[in-house]
């Protein structure tokens, strides 16, 4: 296990080094001089030179890459050109809102996807199976920005059942101000017992979370179905069936647990993808997360901020992948020798 652990960690470190290098390369390719972008169009040559000096733009590329990596490791992710704040600070403010959205979406996705997968596997090749496969295929094929627009217009605009945009009713900041612990609004509201903010957040969260949940729910339903059908052929499942357990009971009590491994790792892998997919939804619902920050950064060609968002998501991906592999290594000894 220790050998597997070190090898897998070593791989992850290599990938992170590659990710940093690639981000740096893409950043350096951006047209337009970052010094000009920082100092403004009317800067004097002296101000420009000062900006170049400040960002070390005159150093050789290797030195710049090394300095960049060293600064990243030290928590200095550069200064955003459009907020004029440290990127690391901006990210810690924006990321919790994205996490809140994607977390809620994944809860919805599991709650919908797993039962649908069980239903499809139980009535394999029947009408329920066909309709689950059809629906889950629709869910993974729908353009998320379009779904967000449709859902917003119908349920918030026309029917008025849900708020149109935002994270919670901002007038609540005066009547019941929120004490911030985790920056995840719904968690903070819950632990401080701030019910007005809690219900308002829940209400605002409903539509965007449903939209972000569509893709993971579809994938989870398909995966659960496939894993259960695969598991149904196993001897232990057939034995329980022979012992007289009903079809549904066999699936839920005996086949679902061994099938949970692949489904769990799938959820971890979908996580980083859902964050990025969430960007498009955040833009529509004006959700104060990473997506809004990324959109503003791209509009202002804010390279340090773009690089920061890219790095954060890539690190999340590497991290969740590593976690999945390690957990599977613990659960299944065969994985370690691969």
């Amino acid at each position: 296990m220790l050998r597997y652990l070190t090898r897998r960690l070593g791989q992850a470190v290599l990938v992170v080094a590659g990710v940093v290098t690639l981000t740096f390369t893409v950043m350096r390719l951006v047209p337009g001089d970052p010094a000009v972008a920082f100092a403004g169009p009317r800067a004097t040559p002296a101000e420009l030179a000062a900006a170049r000096e400040r960002f070390g733009l005159d150093d050789p590329l290797w030195t710049q890459l090394w300095n960049y990596a060293r600064d990243l490791a030290g928590g200095d992710w550069g200064t955003s050109l459009h907020t004029r704040q440290p990127v690391a600070r901006d990210l810690t403010l924006a990321f919790p809102a994205s996490l809140e959205l994607v977390g809620a979406a994944l809860v919805v996705a599991v709650a919908a996807g797993v039962p649908l997968g069980v239903l499809a596997a139980r009535f394999k090749a029947g009408l329920p199976d066909l309709s689950v496969r059809f629906t889950s295929m629709l869910a993974v094929s729908v353009p998320v920005f379009w779904l967000a627009l449709v859902v917003q217009t119908v349920f918030a605009g026309n029917l008025g059942w849900f708020p149109v945009a935002g994270e919670y009713d901002s007038s609540l900041d005066r009547t019941s101000p929120l004490t911030v612990y985790t920056d995840i609004t719904i968690v903070d509201a819950l632990i401080t017992g701030n019910w007005p903010v809690f219900t308002s957040t829940l209400w605002h969260l409903a539509l965007p979370a449903l939209v972000v949940a569509a893709y993971p729910a579809g994938v989870i339903a398909q995966m659960t179905r496939a894993a259960l059908i695969e598991e149904s052929g196993q001897d232990h499942v057939r034995l329980s069936r022979a012992l007289g357990f009903g079809r549904t009971a066999v699936l839920v009590r005996f086949a679902l647990r061994p099938a949970a491994g692949p489904v769990l790792s799938l959820i971890a892998l979908v996580f980083a993808y859902a964050i990025v997919n969430g960007f498009l939804v955040e833009a529509v619902f004006n959700w104060p997360g990473l997506g809004r920050y990324a959109a503003a950064s791209i509009r202002s060609l804010d390279t340090p901020a773009i690089a920061g968002v890219t790095l954060l998501v890539a690190l999340l991906y590497v991290g969740s992948n590593l976690l999945v592999d390690l957990v599977q290594g613990v659960l299944d000894p065969r994985v370690r020798t691969r």
């Binding site: 990710v19 094929s141 980083a272």
Partner: protein, 322 residues
Amino acid sequence: MTASPEPAGPAEPAGPAEPAGLAGLAGPTGLGRRPARPLRLLLRRLLRTARADVLAAAGAVLLLAIVACALLAPWIAPYPEDGGTATHPTEALLPPSADHWFGTDQVGRDILSRVLFGARTSLFIAVAVLGLAAAAGVTLGVVAGYAGGWIRDVIMRVTDVFLAFPALLLSLALAVVLQPSVTTVVVALAATWWPWYARLTASVAQSVATRGYVDAARCLGVPAPLIVFRHVLPNSATPVAVQLSLDAGGVILTSAALSYLGIGVHDPTAEWGLMVQQGQTLFTTDWWVVTFPGLAILVTAFAFNVLGEGLRQALDPRGATR
């Protein structure tokens, strides 16, 4: 499913239902001038799948219709000039009617015509992206899988790095760097999609490389490049073909998202994501401007996904016995 020997004749009609996938398979297979037997076997399997899997068959038919729309857009579009630069300000934002089935947009262009022309843009992007990605990925993957050792390690670690960037995000960053255009979208998406092909081909090629006939060829003194092209590559082609079909939906969704974000295709060109973006502020008053282009993306991605899934199950040896 029964494995009764079917004559070649009845299996042939499945051909037209699946031109894209077959072309991809026939290419590498033809390279080694192998007999047509695997092809016929494939046709038979496809036909069997079509009977067993209604959803996949529907996807194939749907896809065929979309390809026809794309190819014939200039002839079947009611107002072909609206697919290009024409504008009719006096007819702006007309609701769907007998003259304009899908209504008209903010500058009076017929939306049905633009949706039909949009199929060209989307399919072109999908074909170009996957062609580039598969060419690069398969080449690197075959080399990695056949060579093994440190070559494999280096290629696979680079692949891992690229895989760590979600497609939309890396494309976004690249699209900011390069000038917005169709070429940019294609290059950016290909840059994010090739690692999947490298990884897939590497694992398949690795298992093919240990087969007896490859050993035999090596012992006979056949040079490594020839072994790779005549034996390893053709036998790695099937999973790649399936993956291409599965990925096409994802490419279409991501390219539409890039256009929606204003990166990529410019206005006179009809593109579904761009049409949604241009119409989104009008959605509450003029629903048709956003609804139809979005549905076009949904239907196209759906067709590719369903077909790819069906192909995967049909060609998966374990799936065939179920």
